[in-house]
Amino acid sequence: MRLFDLLRGESHSARDAKERLQLVLVHDRADLPPAKLEALKDELIAVLSRHIEIDSRAVHISLTRDRGQQRLVADIPLASARARRRPIG
């Protein structure tokens, strides 16, 4: 089917439109543009790091929509046990 579409010169841009819309609306509805979300993530890392050792490079924060409910989802891996045992500084 894909090859057939290619031969017909089809692009299926509607799919891109829908995906882009869903993403932009998640941010619009929460009034939290991607750049602001990034700033929030940096602050969150700073606060958390004062209390617990986290793997700051692997922190992932995103907005999702689940059954009509807007959600801010943060995935914050802790620094590995080995890393934690290492003296800080």
């Binding site: 089917m1 057939f4 089809e10 509607a14 829908k18 819309l21 869903q22 009509g68």
Partner: protein
């Protein structure tokens, strides 16, 4: 029975609000109901030309609100449909000449003697939008199957809900069935999934709409126009009728059938 007030809005300009207001007004009035259309786009009057009533304006919305004329004096009676009336927008004033309270008072004055009040809202989310929505019993949001129009529709849905106007209903205008079939235009299902509100109409792109606005004869008056038929269906749904949505993706004619045979498995 008191009139129901329906406000047609969109957020984004140019999606067909005025065309929808004119055609829904015409469709309701041609089924014998008493209708007043109000152009709430003060400073950018347009509903009058789309309805073909521009030569008969004496007074306007602002004249009523500021007490320079009686309500009835500013109502233009359509000669083709005796139950259809228009209150035009002022052309030389701006949106601040009218307040949401003024619009509520005006609607309350109209309600006892009519069945429907159809308000054409200006684009945007400022004062003009709030004026148009203030007296509404029901809000219809017009959008086109494209990213920017759907995004703005989503914003407007939030604002309408914040005004506690109840869930608005959606009109998807200017659908090109061929592009939807090709996967190059958002389908009705796509738009509904994104916006999650109830659908009240799907209007196909139709050259006849431009022809009819050229002539000031709304397409709903033309039994052959596809868009006109879609607007008449919206009017019937407003009256509580269960009207099935026309399947715009259905292929029609000989070429359509051939193309279906040639394409393995049809299209998604």
């Amino acid at each position: 029975m008191a009139a129901q007030v329906v406000t047609i809005t969109s957020g984004k300009g140019g999606v067909g609000k005025t065309t929808a207001a004119a055609n829904i007004g015409v469709a309701l009035a041609s089924s014998g109901q008493r209708v007043v259309c109000i152009d709430a786009d003060i400073g950018l009057r347009n509903l009058d030309v789309v309805m073909g009533l521009e030569n008969r304006i004496v007074y306007d919305l602002v004249d009523i609100v500021e007490g320079r004329c009686k309500l009835r004096q500013a109502m233009i009676k359509d000669k083709r449909l005796p139950d259809l009336h228009l209150i035009p927008a002022a052309q030389t004033r701006d949106k601040t000449a009218v307040s949401p309270k003024d619009m509520q008072r005006l609607a309350d004055e109209i309600r006892p003697d009519f069945d429907w009040v159809v308000i054409d809202s200006p684009a945007g989310i400022e004062r003009g939008f709030r004026n148009a929505v203030a007296p509404a019993d029901l809000v219809l949001i017009v959008t086109n199957p494209e990213v920017s129009a759907v995004r703005d529709a989503d914003r407007i849905i939030g604002l309408v809900e914040a005004e506690e106007k109840g869930p608005p209903k959606l009109v998807i205008n200017r659908v090109k069935p061929e592009m939807v079939r090709r996967g190059d235009m958002l389908s009705t299902e796509d738009v509904l999934e994104v916006l999650a509100i109830e659908l009240i109409g799907v209007v196909p792109e139709d050259d006849q709409v431009l022809v009819s606005s050229n002539q000031g004869l709304p397409a709903a008056l033309d039994p052959k126009s596809r868009a006109g038929r879609a607007f008449r269906d919206i009017a019937r749904r407003l009256n509580g009728e269960q009207v099935p949505f026309e399947d715009l993706s259905a292929r029609d004619g000989f070429l359509g059938r051939i193309s279906r045979l040639v394409r393995p498995g049809g299209s998604a």
